[in-house]
Symmetry: C2
Subunit: 341 residues, 2 copies
Amino acid sequence: MAKRLGRGTIELEKKPNIIGNAAVVGKKEGEGPLAKEFDEVFEDITMGEDSWEKAESLLLKNAVKKALSKAAVNKDEVDAIFSGDLLNQCIGSSFGLRDFEIPFGGLFGACSTMALSLIMASLAIETGGFNCTVAATSSHFCSAEKQFRFPLEYGGQRTPTAQWTVTGSGAAVLKQTASSISPYIDKLHLGTIRDFDITDANNMGAAMAPAAAKTISDFLTDTKTAPSDYDLILTGDLGFVGSELLRQLLIRENHIDIKSVHNDCGMLIFDREQQDVHAGGSGCGCSASVLCSHIINSIRSGKYGKVLFVATGALMSSVSSLQGESIPGIAHAVLIKGGKA
Amino acid sequence: MAKRLGRGTIELEKKPNIIGNAAVVGKKEGEGPLAKEFDEVFEDITMGEDSWEKAESLLLKNAVKKALSKAAVNKDEVDAIFSGDLLNQCIGSSFGLRDFEIPFGGLFGACSTMALSLIMASLAIETGGFNCTVAATSSHFCSAEKQFRFPLEYGGQRTPTAQWTVTGSGAAVLKQTASSISPYIDKLHLGTIRDFDITDANNMGAAMAPAAAKTISDFLTDTKTAPSDYDLILTGDLGFVGSELLRQLLIRENHIDIKSVHNDCGMLIFDREQQDVHAGGSGCGCSASVLCSHIINSIRSGKYGKVLFVATGALMSSVSSLQGESIPGIAHAVLIKGGKA
């Protein structure tokens, strides 16, 4: 049985193992610093499909397929898949997963979805009623820009705080195995919505940083640990602006200094100097593709022993922004452990 | 520990009790057959807010508040709330729940959300790591029409198969108590996406019926039960057209006749003759407000002992429809039991 460590914070007894993981990305991501870690890189932004939305579904489909294949698990052995995305009514997931015929739990966590899906997939296994589950998510630069900002043809100027939505998808296959195989999910924390009245939809990092600060602070308190207990505290997609704000907030509000162990998927995926991405990467696919390639691979190889993965999401829509609403942020945390070399 | 009865079908050990439930609806719903069962009826379609989206958030907020109050639970005692809705990026839930400061798991299941949220809230409790959880969802006729169909001012003609999106919200508070208090969640089934190539966005019942048929058939098989073992098999919002298709499909494909125990929230909430709703009610708030008032109250009073609640969702968006895609359906099931008088 899981142990309640605090409100929304639990320690899993079954330690679901990540028995397979895969990341599939677009051309720009395939030219970045993590290029060699991805399982598949598409050269064409439509992936041969006739719309960007369908392209996003294909990214997800391929990521799930590859993760299952690497886990040596047939799709019929999967008891549940948890996924969601940024598109209206999460059509990236519904259409991407339609053909798998796996029981499906649809999620909406904006860019925090990879952590949310890992949490749901872990809880399902922890109950004992599900043997094997999959956590996944996706995003696509063009489908997101078109939906949230401007038509791409318009060629709008991006602000310095703007982040670049990652074209990519990540998937992880979880299973409770007889022996504890690295990497595994040890603890998790379901985050709380936090709204600091940020209204600039081109500064997502600032909108999400307060939620990340609360989640990290709550998790460290509930687990009675300090940043130095982790090899890496990895936020989802705060980017360069949001990451700096997070570090400052944690020092000012909680006297916690994470600088020596902190990194952010939005800072890792692109080369800031060479790739013109302004404040870094974002989108559900950002943390998903970084976690499900470079990070999990590094845990598996023994480079990292304890990674606190904190994916962050901005829970707004273009309608809420046009109606003058601020941007509520959320951050969910998953502690992934392995046998450090 | 939960028992795996089949793929996606589990029997809970902890039998989470529904210790509080509430339904808040709009004027039209308050004039229907279930009028006296609702906890709050708004006379004004904007609920005093300055947009329909904000009105929807208020419906959800009030339903959760009332459910907590009826359960005699303070919001600080809730370990997690699971919710989602039909609005782009689920802003009904994010903004409606923002002020509660409860750990939040965002969901997207379209009109199946009430069952999906009950499943997630139950799984969380079943792990042992969460003491008290809330399941909720909402919909609003005007915010849905505006987003999915036409501006209301256009006064578009509705087709005979069209359903009327319910303005309403339902919430249920779950807790594992020392003794088994009626009503409680006994078993659940996470549904699989099913797509029968329906492309008519004005015939949601037809798009969702195949998924409901699969879920009911799978659940009965996995639990080795027959329709006669239940006092009520209650589908979410198939309406009059979809319900008839469901019954026919189950007979043709599975030789299962549910007619004597089947009803549908979309048929229960409005008076077909008096209220001009064509094929019945729909929307996340339809099954949520019917379940969290009339049905749970009837279990509590001893009228029903075993209710199989099967909420159905159509996983499309206006973009997927415009791109020529068919409408994938999904249905999740929750078996709610009580002490029948």
